[in-house]
Amino acid sequence: MIQLLAFYLFAALTLAAGALTILSRNPVHSVLWLIVAFFNAAGLMVLVGAEFIAMLLVIVYVGAVAVLFLFVVMMLNIDFAALRAGFIKNFPLGILLAAVLLAEVLMGVGVVQGGALQLGTPDGSAPVPAGAQNIEAIGAVLYGKYLFLFEVAGVILLVAMIGAIVLTHRERKGVRGQNIARQVARRPDEATVNMQPDVGKGVSL
């Protein structure tokens, strides 16, 4: 009973937050509503027993992606009047796209009713450990069976990082680096100088 209530609560809030994401006039509010939607979707995932995906939603989508959105929205000065001006002009195109998507949904329903696809059977090389939580199961596969690939994937990320630095880093002249030893060795008597300017000559504008 409580699960059913929780489901309806999360589902209703997800839908409402999703609707408000596209309806709110202020883009910053849109992103905030999106975060609400992510949190409720995470709640739904916990309800179906996929706690790993729930955590990913919170950590990756809320923690990283939504914050990035927020930065972008705040930094870009978007002119909404200009954006809306194209609305009527592009209206027929929008309707056309909506019709295509609707047709796809209807076809999808037809396909589902047509019966299951003849897929291959899993070869059983990566069985789910009995009684394991899904985080445990993913961990067992990732750090056990696919350890080698996991490590090499780390190397790929390293290569991407080296690449980004190689392609964007420029040696600049006249950069003042921090010399920690000099900072630490500095004494009060060399850092401050006592001046006694004449009256009315202390500031030059």
Partner: protein, 487 residues
Amino acid sequence: MDLMHSLRLVAPEELLSLSGLALLLAAAWLGSARAARVITWLSIAVLATCTVLVLPGLSNPAGAEVQAFGGLYSADAFAAFAKVLIYIAAAATLAVAPPFLEKAGAARAEYPILVLFAAMGMGIMVSAQNLLTLYIGLELNSLAAYVLAAFLKTDERSAEAGLKYFVLGALASGILLFGMSLTYGFTGTTSYAGIAAALQGGIAKGALFGLTFVLAGLAFKVSAVPFHMWTPDVYEGAPTPVTAFFASAPKVAALGLTMRVALEAFGTQAAAWQQIVIFAAIASIVVGALGAIGQTNLKRLLAYSSINNVGFILIGLAAATPAGASAMLVYLAIYVAMTVGGFVAVLMLKDGAGNQLEMLGDVAGLSRTRPLIAAGLAMVMFSLAGIPPLFGFWGKFVVFQAAVEAGMVPLAALGIAASVIGAFYYLKVVKVMYFDDPAGKVIGQSDMVHAVLLLASALFISPAGYLLTKCLGHFAETAAAVLFAGA
């Protein structure tokens, strides 16, 4: 204990990644530009060590004892053969890079380090026994390659090459992944052996789609027609040492990978992919030969030549026999020597101020100003054209022989006819060098390393190379047998 065994089998990859990391730290400490030359030579030493490490594997038959990490990776004779070629080609193209990059003001230690990581990815590609391993290896190689193509960041052409390669490469990876997901869905496994077993009885339509997309993605990586469009632009725009690298080592890796996928994973359904490969082979040979005719840039010309050669190599795959696979490996070994020789010769073309020359007009009358470069380049061209006394002929001969033995006489006949068209532009280069009035542009001195490498590859493709046919053929046969062990 099982883990220790696996770790021993992946020793070359471990050495490459660890030394890559160590050299990266060394570069950060010593200063990237200052340490560039030292780190380049250290990287060559690492690649040489890796070559020595994989040499004993040249006689490993397929089997459980060479499988690492529960059948994700195999250190068999086929992988060893391809890795020897990859490491040698990577080392050779590294050795010619420092003078070029120093002149361009882009001498940085990250260059050899990226090549090391690319070589690691290529090694994983040819050792893959699972679609996941395949993809991880391919991406490791590709990501390093995108950066290398754009390495001269102040040069517009290099940046364009890098961007083009990146966008099209990402598209090809997407196509490949889509095919792999379909294959997984309809066979229930990502391991090659599992796919072969699942397709024993027949191939479902979904799996057939998967196979087609996988082959399309791989055709992009080997630059086979109709997925070749990026090749001339990227080869022309990328720095010449990088082009030499692209044309040699990754070609071996991608073709080795394609062989493994076609013959191991889809080996039980050869009829399903043979027509695709036959089309790609013929189209590559014809487009490669016709496209090169109008080229005035030597790098573009060599790019079309590589498309053309990939077509010939794919004829061996179309045969789908052990003889065809072994012929492909022999051809690949000769192709690497010819390509490295060709690009080294192009790198040696410098004007008085030390700037690189790469136009066909620049080499006019080269035989009178720099007879040695002209002789080397002429040998490479004759060999690429497959003119008999040179070793390039042997590669074409074994491939055609395998095709004829497999009953594909029309395919072989078409290939021979197209190679005659191809001979036209190879001979045109020789004619320009030997019979045109000297342009007098190529007067700059080149590095000793270049001369040595050109000499070595010229020696390999000279008639003296035929002394190697027996030993090369033996290793290629052992390697090819691995692919048919399961069948």
